[in-house]
Symmetry: C2
Subunit: 152 residues, 2 copies
Amino acid sequence: MSRPCHHNHQEPIKLDDLTERLREKSQKITGPRQAILEVMRREAHPVTNKKIMALLPDGVCDLVTVYRSMHLLEKMGLVRRFDFGDGAARFELVRGNSEDHHHHLICTECTTVVEIEQCFPNALEKQISQESGFKKLSHKLEFFGICPECQS
Amino acid sequence: MSRPCHHNHQEPIKLDDLTERLREKSQKITGPRQAILEVMRREAHPVTNKKIMALLPDGVCDLVTVYRSMHLLEKMGLVRRFDFGDGAARFELVRGNSEDHHHHLICTECTTVVEIEQCFPNALEKQISQESGFKKLSHKLEFFGICPECQS
DNA sequence: GCCTTATTGCAAATGATTTGCATAAGGAGG
DNA sequence: CCTCCTTATGCAAATCATTTGCAATAAGGC
């Protein structure tokens, strides 16, 4: 009874929707935030703060502002945080249903990233919850391997 | 066709075995390394470098030596590295079959750790490998939740 | 437009981990 | 047991990612 994650890779998401969600939470819609969301919209895979900074038009804002913005966006559920194990946090825009989530497969040679459909089976997670007595379970799961390119 | 991880929590492992494995790889058996292995032997769950340092008898060695030793032990397969998402690496002694591995369930309130039997299903991982073309797949998986104590 | 409050920039602090380098300690061979 | 060569270690300082303090600035409601 496993239930794979659903994800909407390419589903377009309008900047207006995002700014609207910001407004709902009485957060100000500032230049840096709009620009950052604009960048995130274009990225298909998780990106680091430094990368976001680099993708931003020159002079939009400070790196510190990127950090602070990502914290805010994460807390608001607009982006999701990932850890690929290299010491730098990565963020990906949440598209569509915020309940959905997906995992990644990262090439340990070239760091190419591929989205994965498969998720940890719900039934198993439920079993873990029952056996341990823990509630509100969630998990962090990422895969690593050698991509086709790097196998030669 | 899922295949849960096997793990030998309490299986005793002799220091001699460990030093022997060190010797095989022509690494020196130094005081700090023996003391660190001794500490690791006693720990049931992953511990940070700082914690290892604290558990070591006073003056055994420098924190830097702990970092370097853990790198070595990890490379030699004597310990495994884990990331609980709080910015500090944690290590656990590999007991028994080095093929085995297990995951953890961490309480997000008090950081209590529980070992988990369930692992990501082999069949699904194989499927991911086939679909993506990636080889030598591995995964990092940790669970988070609220432990019984913290639910009240 | 004005005012209150959230936001930003910049510098500096943190925390984990790594590195350079001179000194000290394993251990193979005699 | 002693010597020599190599690996380890201590200590200080460098890196890296991320956070924080604070004064200056911009958003948005009224």
